[in-house]
Amino acid sequence: MEIAVIGNQEFILGFRLAGIRKTYPVESDETLVAHINRVLEDPAVGILVLQSGDLKKIPRRLQMTLEESVKPTVITIGAEEGGLSMRERIKRSVGVDLWK
């Protein structure tokens, strides 16, 4: 399985340096959504890496899909928001805010 990276030019450049081929540059919000949909449909991708800033730009529905998705697993990196969706889920399932 492969790793896919979606983000701006600078973000994906580093991942190319680490040898990842499936990197998709984002120029506008529309291309961002198109790229995400393409990666979600790609059966070879096991992990999708996103910038946490980009997550706010996509429609709410797609955000939910990404948060729930197990294959591919979506990892957002960047600012602290990374654990936020997880925090919500823990609160909902366990009933206590354990992510601190």
Partner: protein, 208 residues
């Protein structure tokens, strides 16, 4: 089950008692499963926090290295090096079972590469490029680790949620309704018995 749908017969009572016993047994087992899942979840949670912190740290250092590389080599130089990297990291996904929840076990290989395996010329680039590549390779490793753990966590949370819902449905809906029906039938049967007794007494009194 509404109370008016229940036929107050002895066989119905026996059936209900059986159903109550079954529900209670199921309830106990599900409760144990829920507790077990939550214990597992706590273990994973600690790991998840660690890997998240690790991931953010590595991301920051990788970004910093990238900035240095851009300054030293120029954007074009970095790009040229990046596009010549050929070997792709390979990940394999196996699965393991935690209390009936199938979670992935991700194994990675070929993420870290030696100097001469990266594909760009060693003479044409400075060591800054090598260090940047290394820091990004470490970042990818951290991403793979955290992907495994976060997927495990998501799946465990899903299972906890559904188990919790089942436990609550049994505790607050199914079992109370069944016991209510049982009590109703008992009450009706007792009432009918008393009526019968009274009727007999009346008939006896008339005959005497």
């Amino acid at each position: 089950m509404a109370l008016r749908d229940i036929k107050p017969t002895r066989s119905e009572l026996i059936n209900l008692k059986k159903r109550i016993a079954l529900s209670e047994r199921g309830y106990k087992i599900l409760k144990m499963k829920r507790d077990g899942l939550i214990l597992e979840f706590f273990k994973v949670l600690e790991q998840a926090k660690d890997t998240r912190g690790d991931l953010n740290e590595r991301y920051e250092s990788a970004q910093a290295m990238m900035a240095v590389a851009n300054t030293v080599e120029g954007a074009i130089g970095v790009k040229a090096a990046a596009f010549s990297v050929q070997q792709e990291p390979d990940i394999k996904v196996a699965s393991k079972n935690i209390m009936g929840v199938v979670v992935p076990e991700i194994e990675s290989s070929k993420v870290r590469k030696g100097l001469n395996e990266r594909g760009y010329g060693i003479l044409g680039t400075t060591s800054v490029i090598d260090e940047t590549a290394l820091s990004f390779e470490e970042l990818v490793e951290a991403i793979i680790r955290s992907a495994e753990i976060e997927t495990t966590m998501k799946k465990l949370l899903d299972e906890i949620e559904s188990t919790k819902r089942r436990v609550n449905a049994l505790e607050f809906k199914v079992i109370p309704e069944l016991t209510e029906a049982r009590d109703f039938i008992k009450m009706r049967l007792d009432e009918m018995e008393r009526e019968e007794l009274f009727r007999l007494k009346k008939i006896k009194a008339r005959n005497v």
